[in-house]
């Protein structure tokens, strides 16, 4: 499992994620690079429609000795899971359409209370897909080094950490209601 280092990203950014009345979640003071990363979330998820990513998103629920269970799972459960994941992606895409920004302005949008689980799910999808694509290890995902921004791999790792930061903030808000 990944141990996310909140301070690592926090020191570099001032984006604010906070709970509003009614338990909606407000994202504000979003820098252009963060807006770009946020808008990439649905695209990253769509890029997961390949055998490797699918193998992680739809992992086997039992070993081969449970042949009937595995067959039933493929026929009935997997389509339900696919629907769940797609539905969450659509919810996040719609929320991102409300992200207001402009030249010289920081971004702002609100995630309604009912959409919080969709955000947690989709951020996880995006992180899993990126980590699978680039074969990141447990150590890399938990390392406490400053970002170097030397390679595409380093940049993707920062993207994964950025999404992890948002997940952590949403979980923190949910737990402290």
């Amino acid at each position: 499992m990944a141990i996310f280092c909140w301070r690592r990203w926090k020191e570099l950014n001032e984006m604010v994620i906070r709970r509003l009345e009614g338990n909606a979640i407000e994202f504000c003071a979003i820098e252009p690079i963060e807006i770009n990363l946020l808008r990439q979330v649905p695209t990253v998820c769509e890029s997961g429609e390949n055998p490797r990513s699918e193998g992680r998103l739809f992992s086997k629920p039992a070993d081969a000795s449970e042949a009937q269970f595995l067959n039933d799972w493929e026929e009935y459960v997997r389509p339900e899971l696919r629907h769940l994941f797609l539905s969450a992606r659509n919810t996040v895409s719609e929320d991102l359409k409300t992200l207001s920004t402009g030249p010289g302005k920081l971004g702002h949008f609100v995630v309604p209370h009912a959409h919080r689980d969709a955000w947690l799910n989709v951020l996880n999808q995006a992180r899993l897909i990126l980590a699978t694509k680039y074969n990141f290890t447990d150590r890399e995902l938990s390392m406490h080094e400053q970002p170097r921004w030397f390679s595409r791999r380093d940049m993707v790792l920062q993207q994964i950490n950025f999404y992890a930061e948002i997940q952590e903030r949403i979980i923190d808000i949910v737990e402290n209601e």
Binding site: M1, A2, V77, N124, Q125, D138, Q167, I171
Partner: protein, 91 residues
């Protein structure tokens, strides 16, 4: 006679306790896994954290044991949260 024997074997197999096992992966956050255990099983934060740490340090944790149908339901729920979960016959 043969059909009865097969049916009995299947019934016995289903009646046995089944484990819901969660496996470690490098991506899911510890806080996220803890939250999912609380939501899916209704565990206290302490119990959820105990299982989360077992997954993290031992690579897997038996998070629930019981009837087959319920175990299948829990595995599906955990997959819906993108955790690596499997169903296993309890020893």
């Amino acid at each position: 006679m043969v059909e009865t024997a097969v049916e009995t074997e299947v019934e016995t197999s289903i009646a046995l306790p089944w484990n819901v096992v969660v496996h470690d992966d490098p991506v899911n956050l510890m806080s996220y896994v803890t939250m999912v255990f609380q939501r899916v099983f209704g565990y206290s934060k302490e119990k959820a954290q105990h299982h989360m740490l077992e997954v993290h340090y031992k690579g897997r944790s038996v998070v629930w044991t019981g009837a087959r149908e319920r175990a299948e339901f829990y595995v599906q729920q955990l997959h819906g949260h993108l955790l690596l979960a499997t169903l296993e016959r309890a020893e």
